[in-house]
Amino acid sequence: MTTRYTTVAVGLLATLALSAGCRGNKSSDPPIHPNWNMDDQQYFQPQEDNDWFPDHRAQRPLVAGTVARGLLKADDHLYRGRGPDGRLVDALPPSLPLTQALLDRGEARYDIYCAPCHEKSGHGNGIIAQPGRIAAGLLVKPPSYTDPRLAAMPLGYFFDVITHGKNTMRPYAAQIPVEDRWAIAAWVRVLQVSQRAAIGDVPADKLDQLKSGGAQ
């Protein structure tokens, strides 16, 4: 009698445990929340869907021919890298002075957005450009920044290419804020100059660091 009760009890517990599963088990079923109406309230968060529109986007694209408040890009030097004569400039915009902080920012942003194709050194052999397990690398390889044609280009050229793209490179204006694009352009210049630098260009206080192989 007692053994039968024990068997039944153990069996029930085991069924419960098995049917309920364990913590962290993968499931494509949504999380179990008994009452969703507070979780999902009647307002739209960024990138939420809204079935009222045919494309299901709650975020609506900007109406053609309009400019949102505060987004009028009137400064040609800052937003287009061009001077009053319409030619590409060879200087940073006045609002962005050349500082170590700007170059550090440029290096960090370059490593995120550019290095996958252009390589951290700028020679154009980044991870995407190389043959991988699935793809055979970029169909059109990026050029090296030390290419004489690119070495002769004004700073505004690199800003312009980042902003509008070039050949197979797509524009990055939507992905990288304008100040960061200038910082990256400055860092591209650093990469170019560093490849042609002589030992005499290194400041005396950094020479020991360089010889010992230390970074920075």
């Binding site: 009890a9 517990l13 419960l16 309920a20 599963g21 364990c22 913590r23 962290g24 088990n25 993968k26 499931s27 494509s28 079923d29 949504p30 999380p31 179990i32 929340h33 507070m38 979780d39 999902d40 309230q41 307002y43 968060q45 960024p46 990138q47 869907d49 494309d55 299901h56 986007r57 960090a108 490593d111 995120i112 957005y113 996958p116 194709c117 991870i127 995407i128 991988g132 397990r133 699935i134 793809a135 055979a136 690398g137 970029l138 169909l139 059109v140 197979t168 490179m169 797509r170 990055y172 939507a174 992905q175 990288i176 804020p177």
Partner: protein
């Protein structure tokens, strides 16, 4: 005089004494274990319209999280990238016979319907959350999202429950890292992590003081 209770009723007090604690413990265990967000929410792994592998892109190839989720440092919301971000590389790559796997992305890029990715991490609408302040404080992606760089299909790694948030808000120090390491998925496995002390980090201009009051998150 006949007995009112038959003889077997003598066993009732014993049976009650034995089964009551067992049932109570069972109920408490069941609620503690199966009613917890660690069970109800962790492990949610929805099927996505495109089999995008974070393991390949963020792990093997080492793309920085911010290449695609580029708003994460400026905005509350870490944006899903538009199809154009995918095409930055895929417009100039040939995947051969795997090319049809990314067809929905190519269609969206060509002006078709947007790719409707399924949201994995769903904070309730009554909880305010801001990605940018967490990154600015030096809380890394992997602290809340787990090792995304090892996931082929992303799943929810942490419970995202209120008590889980408060665990860190009450004692943030163990989860802080240098602010330039926030997207480093393996930071806490690195030797530098053991030696890092946020209180002596010169790049930090003020102490991290996360809110613990109700309106910090329920605004």
């Amino acid at each position: 005089m006949a007995q009112i209770f038959p003889r077997w009723t003598n066993k009732i007090p014993l049976a009650v004494a034995v089964t009551t604690p067992v049932v109570l413990v069972g109920v408490i265990f069941a609620i503690w274990y199966w009613f917890s967000p660690k069970f109800t929410d962790v492990g949610y792994q929805p099927e996505q319209p495109v089999q995008f592998s974070h393991k390949l892109h963020a792990g093997t190839m080492g793309l920085d999280c911010r290449y695609c989720h580029n708003t994460v440092e400026q905005a509350a919301h870490a944006a899903l990238p538009p199809a154009g971000t995918c095409m930055n590389c895929h417009g100039n790559l040939d995947l051969g016979d795997r090319e049809n796997r990314i067809k929905p992305i190519k269609d969206a890029f060509a002006g078709g319907a947007p790719v409707e990715w399924v949201r994995v991490h769903m904070l309730p609408d009554y909880a305010y959350f801001n990605h940018s302040v967490h990154l600015a404080a030096g809380v890394g992606c992997s602290s809340c999202h787990g090792r995304i760089d090892q996931m082929d299909t992303v799943f929810q790694d942490q419970p995202l429950s209120m008590s889980w948030c408060l665990d860190c808000h009450r004692n943030p120090q163990p989860n802080l890292r240098p602010r330039d390491q926030v997207t480093n998925m393996g930071w806490f496995d690195s030797p530098e992590a053991a030696a890092y002390d946020p209180n002596t980090d010169p790049t930090r201009t003020r102490a991290v003081a996360p809110p613990e009051h109700c309106s910090g998150c329920h605004r």
